[in-house]
Symmetry: C2
Subunit: 231 residues, 2 copies
């Protein structure tokens, strides 16, 4: 390719990366804000978070559009992996944004009943998930496979915390029938956060694919046993 | 391009479509089988469904691989949309497969307690979701935008059935504390099925994108109100 064509390709690829990184930070900030409104029981702020999700969706459309434009130039090898990774990572971030918005939305249902003492566990796994999202986006920005692998390995921590919270919430529901509806919302909020951890893991695997191509991913442990939990 | 190059491109594109359609049918069959094992309380068959999910994941890797190969040929316009649609649809089917496997996995937890009478509602929305997956894959195969739009519109039916089931399960949990753990699994199983409906909708939107490009999607109604349900 001519020099000026290469330059404009690089500029568009840089733009694509910047958009994806911006999306990631928006999703992390949305989750952080959602955890905050759960704590503060602030319906107005919760409604704002739900509305903000559109901005992430709009950015995903821009990413898809830019991927289309770059794909038309017939990129090869690493350049091609860059755009495939961007489209997949943008899809994961879009889902993370949806889950964060759903946490905010469900907080409004929680606020129709008296405050629960069980919200602390949610904050804990929520903060772990925010960190996972920020760490994996930094690994993506830096093409840092080792950092991405660390995010992938830490997902077991979120899974274990989720399983613990799941069991804890079941016991509250058994002790007091009035806790059933709010605890069910908390169960789904916790599940949303656990899923955010899974999407951070997907992003980590795309960083691996971007840098290492078709090399096989190293194995990792899973610790979510709530699927088979019985009390 | 030369004639023989065009021919081999068409053959590879056909192969990509066939793989994606095969993935879709595998996911629909997995969900059907999962509903069946819930009904029959068959742990062995449930374990087989969980194990089968790997075959869908492997097929998604093949689709990604074939998309990479096709993208190297620098496809334009409709051809480019074909491969972008294939990669996104394959990702949605992979998730549908995960949700179907999770329904089977949770059925094993249900089987540790006496049979519940509340499984009928799950079968109903499960069958709706199986139909949505098969219908949307047929719409994709035929590039039938109208059929895809019908699938998109019917998602409201699954959402409404899910909201009803969600409320029904909450009442059983309130009536009998022993029902809390199994009903929680049923809540998550119902949620998985409702999410399968959402992924069928995503596929329908990709059929639209494939055929109509960047034309704006027509609006549609949503009917899942369980996020804000209070009892």
């Amino acid at each position: 390719m001519h020099d000026h064509i290469l330059k404009s390709y690089d500029a568009e690829q840089k733009r694509l990366l910047d958009e994806t990184l911006r999306m990631g930070e928006m999703a992390a900030a949305q989750l952080e804000a959602a955890l905050d409104v759960v704590q503060r029981r602030d319906d107005k702020a919760a409604a704002r978070i739900v509305a903000n999700d559109e901005a992430i969706d709009a950015l995903e459309h821009e990413v898809s559009h830019d991927v289309m434009k770059l794909a038309l130039r017939g990129p090869m090898a690493r350049d091609l992996r860059e755009i495939l990774a961007a489209i997949r990572i943008a899809a994961d971030i879009e889902r993370i944004g949806d889950y964060a918005a759903n946490v905010a939305k469900r907080s409004m249902a929680l606020n129709t009943a008296p405050a629960l003492p069980h919200v602390a566990g949610l904050q804990l796994i929520g903060r772990l998930a925010v960190k996972q999202v920020r760490d994996v986006m930094a690994a993506y920005r830096d093409c840092d496979v080792e950092a991405a692998q660390r995010v992938r390995a830490s997902d077991a921590e979120i899974d274990a915390a989720y399983t613990g919270l799941f069991r804890e919430l079941l016991t509250y529901m058994m002790e007091d029938a009035r806790a059933i509806t709010p605890c069910t919302h908390l169960l789904f909020m916790a599940k949303n956060i656990e899923r955010i951890g899974d999407h951070a893991t997907n992003i980590a695997e795309n960083v691996w694919f971007l840098v290492r191509g078709d090399d096989a991913l190293p194995p990792r442990e899973k610790a979510d046993e709530s699927n088979t939990a019985t009390l």
